[in-house]
Amino acid sequence: MALGVREYTGIGEIKGPLLVVKGVSRVAYDEIVEVELPSGEKRRGRVLEVGMGYAVVQVFEGTTGISPVGTTIRFLGKPLEIPVSEDMLGRIFNGLGEPIDGGPPIVAEEKRDVNGAPLNPAERAYPEDFIQTGVSAIDGMNTLVRGQKLPIFSGSGLPHNKLAAQIARQATVRGEEEEFAVVFAAIGIKYDDFLFFKRFFEETGALGRVAMFVNLADEPAMIRLITPRAALTLAEYLAFERDMHVLVILTDMTNYAEALREISSAREEVPGRQGYPGYLYSDLASIYERAGRVKGRKGSITQMPILTMPNDDITHPIPDLTGYITEGQIVLSRELHNRGIYPPINVLMSLSRLMKEGIGPGKTREDHAEVSNQLYAAYSRGVELRSLAAIVGEESLSEVDRRYLRFADLFERRFLSQGERENRSIEETLDIAWEILSVLPEEELTNIKEETIRKYHPKYRRPKPTVS
């Protein structure tokens, strides 16, 4: 696309964030554009469609104040690129990847197209290194592995930021010294949410290994379409060229999807469900799939997108399509939160699809898979019986069923609940699991093999001091 800069002044139409520029030639699809207002103000945009003599341009900063007369449009002859360099860690950028922290400009080792290119499935390496987050509900039952994309499905007012921060602070791969580099993308979030993360990184002394890309709620919405891509472009560089393990936090993907809806309706496209464009799935995938490991490289990209579910509705297109792309999800529950449980993770709705490869002997512990299955089976039965007990009364349940109720309570109070700064090892997590499972009659542990019970069930184990 080496075309050089071409300049035009003919704006045919302005609608929403779009300009239709007339009389152009040799404009490339997806090319980046500079729009200069008579005042000298400069805005940026990109080409969404080209035809003979016209181009449709999306202006990132919006079209407010743009007039068809006196405005100059420059086509820059290349796609949107950002410089990438290790020096970007410790720095803060705007949503388009330009430094805003007053520091020196980035001396680029290389510039890269923010759209990236699809990873070749034949060159990927399957993620399988257990990340200990220190959070029992995750490590024990929804294990995260290096290179996974695992979103947090939350609702407004739920402690997703706290949880994401706790994970970012505690995440380690056992047996390795190296800490994660963090690439953080703030997508249309409120200033205080941004401040929360900034302070958190400062306090933990992590700022030096964090790069932040920030687009706040009061900043132009169209930039949100670029912010996660700019962040991931840096992450790919750090992971696959600089051998780093990178944790990417994208928050809030709901704001991203809303910006996409806005541009789609401005283009008068046939809307899909709830006004979101039919290509929302593919578009989200072009972000979420930029995670993983590749053969022959040491680094990895682990993605933790955060999204708030409108009306706490998991079937809303944004969480729904996200769930169809990511490798599981951590779902936060308002009900648990209101009962004062932290972290309020609804484990039944949560899932880690890459768990099976990351656990077991040599990685976590040999009983892990069986214990996790048993916790699920027992807790879901407990929850079911709880609603039954609400109707028929606890007295009319059998002795065994009452034990399940007790198990469900213990599960929430003892296993799920933990401090914001409590960092449990996987052994502690599994030991707590055995402790609460032992309130059930042994015959009920149908997911666990006899040998495993003999080895780990508290009944057969010599008592030893519990750590907690």
Binding site: Y29, D113, A117, P118, P121, F240, L388
Partner: protein
């Protein structure tokens, strides 16, 4: 003379070019200076509307578009098995090699405009002429097998006279090593000589010809208990696996690809995750085909157009896959094709239709969605292949469906149900409680139960159907009872009904739930399936007798004691080759109940 035009419009994956008169519908074209692969999907005057299979970023009006004179086609010949292709049959490992040549650091990315041959040109295969039934000087027709190549440890590739070729065989290559470009036979017709090579090309959107379509007659055993016993698939049948995210579609398709009794498996990852393809690539070469003990990859072809790859190629990938499947069917093999997910394919159709500004029907899908789905599933079936020797082959098609919000009333799910015979409905609630496979036994169905019954009776046990139906009825009855229990608890139920609840729980825990990742549980032979089923149903029958005699469901459960655990754990403690242990458990359980009867 292929056409040459120029681009006048670019909008996402859609490119419009003018100066294209003479172009054909569905002709494959090269777009722009980078030579991106595209396909013509509409012609209007001298304008052609092209869906482009690679990212169009950077394309400009005025750039050239070149026709190829032919439709999008695949190469069919030895070298397909064990390979992973993209949506238009480019081998992904070769793409990586190609990228690495110019940009070693970017080897892991799929870059644009890369042309690599689908089948290796330099590899030699050992060809054996089929002199047992074709002779030089005699007539040959399309489909006649003229030679054999051992393609992998599992599959003997039959070299056939390509469709459309017939005449006198004037030369047949002697046994020896040849590349696919070397001629292995010459056929003469009307004085014209046609060279036959080990490969030929076939347009993906045209079903390959066969002699006659036959009804399916045999089950496709999958080793998944709820499938084989309750909702069986037939060789040459069609099925759908719909379900919300995370309910187990991919795990089910992986299990089918891994365990089912097919000779060749075509796995299409259509708009899904890259890691899921990587998983197959890493796991299959290490796993063994349960039927032969050979590496699974030796019977598998992967087609990967992941969700982040260009959307138009998703549309093509389905046709590429089914064409490869038909090709092995024509050799006389039973082929299984799984497509994950057909919803993403339908969405690709929708996106292209939207860009073409076609009138949308339901939820923005084009009005031809149903007919496209029908055409696709119609390419499944058991057939008598063309040519000699006479042979039958089959293509079984199973498609995952990903309904938005898990709602089965949406267009893709509802249209799909019209064209398939087996429906494995995945249930979010079952998945949440980790009841895997989360196949809902109330909503699912199979039209092949009657058809497979004789096979079970001949090969496993004469009372299979009786046991299977009885178990199904217990599950149906339990479902009704649960409605009552939810309102009033279990107190008001009769002892007989309480027994139904107990047995249903045993069926769920000890039979229906099956862990796809447990080395023993993942694959159950039909014999093991029946042994487990028989154990549970025999206990139920004995229980019913006891209740007639005044015993309670609780007493029955208590009489079983720890045997109950043995029964529900047998699926993962007893391997397929030690079924006598299940029989022993059954006998002990019946004895325990016998004792209860005697008081």
């Amino acid at each position: 003379m292929p056409v040459k035009g120029r681009i006048v419009r670019v909008s996402g994956p859609l490119v419009v070019a003018e100066g294209m008169s003479g172009a054909q519908m569905y002709e494959m074209v090269y777009v722009g200076e980078a030579g991106l692969i595209g396909e013509i999907t509409r012609i209007s005057g001298d304008k052609a509307y092209i869906q482009v299979y690679e990212s169009t970023s950077g394309l400009r009006p005025g750039e050239p578009v070149e026709g190829t004179g032919g439709p999008l086609s695949v190469e069919l010949g030895p070298g397909l098995l064990g390979t992973i292709f993209d949506g238009v049959q480019r081998p992904l490992p070769l793409i990586a090699e190609e990228v690495a040549k110019s940009q070693p650091k970017r080897r892991m990315f799929v870059e644009r405009g890369i042309r690599v041959p689908p089948l290796p040109r330099d590899r030699k295969y050992h060809f054996r002429p089929a002199t047992d039934h074709v002779k030089v000087g005699e007539k040959v027709e399309e489909g006649d097998i003229i030679g054999y190549v051992r393609e992998t440890s599992l599959i003997e590739h039959k070299i056939m006279i390509p469709p459309g070729v017939r005449g006198k065989l004037v030369w047949l290559a002697p046994e020896g090593d040849y590349t696919i470009e070397d001629p292995v036979a010459v056929v003469e017709r009307d004085g014209r000589k046609i060279e036959v090579k080990m490969y030929h090309k076939w347009p993906v959107r045209v079903p390959r010809p066969y002699k006659v379509k036959l009804d399916p007659v045999l089950p496709l055993i999958t080793g998944i208990r709820i499938i084989d016993t309750f909702f069986p698939m037939a060789k040459g049948g069609t099925g759908a696996v719909p379900g919300g995210f995370g309910t187990g579609k991919t795990v089910t398709l992986h299990s089918l690809a891994q365990w089912s009794e097919a000779r060749v498996v075509v796995y299409i990852g259509c708009g899904e995750r890259g890691n899921e393809m990587t998983e197959v690539l890493e796991r299959f070469p290490k796993s063994k085909d349960p039927w032969t003990g050979k590496p699974l990859m030796d019977r598998t072809i992967l087609i990967a157009n992941t969700s982040n790859m260009p959307v138009a190629a998703r549309e093509a990938s389905i046709y590429v896959g089914i064409t490869l499947a038909e090709y092995y069917r024509d050799m006389g093999y039973d082929v299984l094709l799984v497509a994950d997910s057909t919803s993403r394919w339908a969405e690709a159709l929708r996106e292209i239709a939207g860009r073409l500004e076609e009138m949308p029907a339901e939820e923005g899908y084009p009005s031809y969605l149903a007919s496209r789905l029908a055409e696709f599933y119609e390419r499944a079936g058991r057939v008598e292949a063309l040519g000699r020797p006479p042979r039958t082959g089959s293509v079984t098609v199973v498609g995952a469906v990903s309904p938005p919000g898990g709602d089965f009333s949406e267009p893709v799910t509802s249209h799909t149900t019209r064209f398939i015979r087996v429906f494995w409905a995945l249930d979010t609630k079952l998945a949440y409680s980790r009841h895997y496979p989360a196949i809902n036994w109330i909503q699912s169905y199979s039209a092949y139960v009657d058809l497979v019954t004789p096979w079970w009776h001949e090969n496993v046990d004469k009372r299979w159907r009786e046991y299977r139906d009885e178990a199904m009825n217990i599950l149906l009855r339990e479902n009704e009872l649960q409605e009552i229990v939810r309102l009033v608890g279990t107190e008001g139920l009769s002892e007989k009904d309480k027994l139904v609840l107990e047995t249903a729980r045993m069926l769920k825990d000890g039979f229906l739930k099956q862990n796809a990742f447990d080395p023993i549980d993942a694959f159950s032979t039909p014999q093991k399936q029946f042994a487990l089923l028989k154990t549970i149903i025999d206990i139920h029958r004995k229980g019913e007798e006891l209740i007639e005699k005044g015993r309670t469901a609780r007493e029955i459960r208590e009489a079983l004691g720890r045997l109950y655990i043995d029964i529900v754990k047998a699926k993962f403690t007893v391997p397929n080759d030690r079924l006598e242990e299940i029989e022993a458990i059954r006998r002990k359980a019946l004895e325990a109940l016998e004792k209860l009867e005697q008081g």
